[in-house]
Subunit: 193 residues, 4 copies
DNA sequence: AATGAATGAGGATTCATTCAT
DNA sequence: GATGAATGAATCCTCATTCAT
């Protein structure tokens, strides 16, 4: 074990462990000790690097949003035409990275956290605004004035799919979830013409 | 003079207080004492009537689902034609009773609870199945084979709207939420023909 | 009906135990558990009744000051003539109740606490002002303009004696401490004439 | 190139930082990290040089006592006649070096420390004995048999003044504190004749 | 010489739950 | 029926201290 530059490694390990632990427990009732143990260190060290439980949670949340954002951005760059851009945004939410069981569980829990924690809400709001704005931009050429409304429904359906997935209901998986979203997109655009 | 028939009154008060308290806190991190205090009794009495915190939560969840179910059933009876039946089901989710701030917050939290509590998940599953089945029945005459798929999207969008409402995103309120749902219904049916 | 009226009993026991524990340890590094144990209850109950460690300390401090104040007032009422009044005030600080080892140790620690705790400082200031004012009133007829200055020295010497007593220096005990104070009073008055 | 002779510099920095930190906090609840940070080094190094927190405190205490002793000795050498010697001793306690806010705060805290730490008590006792003995020697020619008693009162009043100063009571400053002491000396000597 | 890394031990505080009355 | 009393079992967090580099 090297003696220097441990911080980023430890932080990453803790973030990863936090998501995993939330995934297993299915709630935020996770102790710092559990997280630290899973990350292979003492709880004291976890506190040392993050300052407190809340900040560990926020870091995990930030991580999930960052990864999501990165994938979405990457997909957008490669996308072809307006319709392709919307698809890219939608698909980004259901990649194997983002639509893993524990990540979805964490996601849902962060939504709940956002109700009581200002910091969490701020984070989520930023993400939401970006998603909404991306969707609207991509939809404008296809649906004109209706872009905003359609974006709202798409965004809500994405979250709805996450919610159902979190409960493993309907046997939703990457594929079917994406299908539902794309179907919605199709009929929205058809109706908009 | 012993008070008779206090039990149902106390239980109802506790259930109501639980929902209110979850609404205020925005999470399940609510103590039995808080709930009991709001319900105007000692926490010991709350335990006496419910046996434990988990059961208080379950009772509150059951209450919400029951009220929702009752309203939906009532609306269904009055509904006119297949399309009217679907509308009735959708509208039931956004009445002022069911779409109140604290109820929505509790709803979201119960979704989370369902991830860690088998009993909670069972409750939710029952409700989900009933909703799904009601929707499919109502949609069948209108959309044939596509009924199931459409029902899934409608159900997911309902939950998505709840989620966004819980975070006061998009300025979602009764009216706009219902509008979005009915719009989805419209275009789904148009596309199904 | 449950066991009633425990609160004052518990609080008194905790205050007493706090003083004793500070006396034994000689510092404020006393755990709530130690205090609670000595008082014959769980630390949880201590928290229940006082809300926190700080408030336990403040209550103990308040208790000491209250007892002191009561004795001083009592002695003042019985005192004969101006000189008698000054003596009464002085003697009150060195009764067997107030000049006990643990009380003196607690006293000293509260002085230190007052440096970091606003609440503690306020308490101490009130006591100090009352002592000063009592002394000045009693001294005025005897020393006129010099009353204030003399009072300051008397008060400082009282505290100095406490300090020395806390460290068992100079073999200070009730008797000698009082003697020193009265001697100071004598020569102050002689010089004031 | 290893830095040579860092040890005394580091130790001095730590001692200084300790006193400052105690002065700021107003208590001994100061962490080694705080001290080390203020001294511009890691807490590990502080341990390396002193072996432990207790020893850092003791070193700080020793430092204060040493400085005080040095000033007192210096003043004694220059003093003129018995009365001048007593004055010199008294004034030494209230020089701007010794009567600084943080030094006084540290002083008071060391008194408290002496109640629980044998080493601290020993240190303080040595200082006390030296002060007492110095005072008695100087007073003997002026007050004969009464020297010891007067010395006790003078010493106690000095500490009392420190205590009041620590709490910024009575608006005590160098000047007024010294005045009170010298007044006491005056009237003691007058009474002794 | 110097420090980042790491932890064990401990302490304040909270809370669901039980019990006697 | 109802509650004050009481606690054990966590849980977060802090900190002195050690160690490898």
């Amino acid at each position: 074990m090297p003696k220097l530059g441990m911080e980023p490694i430890r932080r990453a390990a803790l973030v990863k462990a936090t998501i995993a632990e939330i995934g297993v427990t299915g709630s935020l009732d996770v102790t710092v000790s559990q997280i630290a143990k899973r990350a292979g260190m003492s709880s004291a060290l976890a506190h040392h690097y993050f300052g407190g439980k809340d900040q560990i949670f926020l870091a995990a949340m930030r991580h999930i949003l960052t990864v999501y954002g990165a994938e979405a951005r990457g997909a957008l760059v490669m996308a072809d035409g307006p319709r392709g851009r919307v698809e890219a945004i939608i698909r980004a939410g259901f990649t194997t990275t983002n639509f893993r069981r524990d990540v979805v569980a964490a996601w849902l829990n962060f939504y709940v956290l956002a109700q009581s924690s200002g910091a969490a809400r701020r984070l989520l709001t930023i993400y939401q605004r970006r998603l909404q704005s991306n969707l609207i931009h991509a939809l404008r050429p296809l649906a004109g004035d209706r872009a905003a409304d359609i974006a709202t429904r798409l965004a809500a359906l994405i979250d709805g799919m996450y919610l159902h997935a979190a409960l493993r209901m309907d046997g939703i998986d990457n594929g079917t979830a994406t299908d539902h979203l794309l179907t919605l997109l199709d009929i929205e655009l058809k109706a908009a013409t």
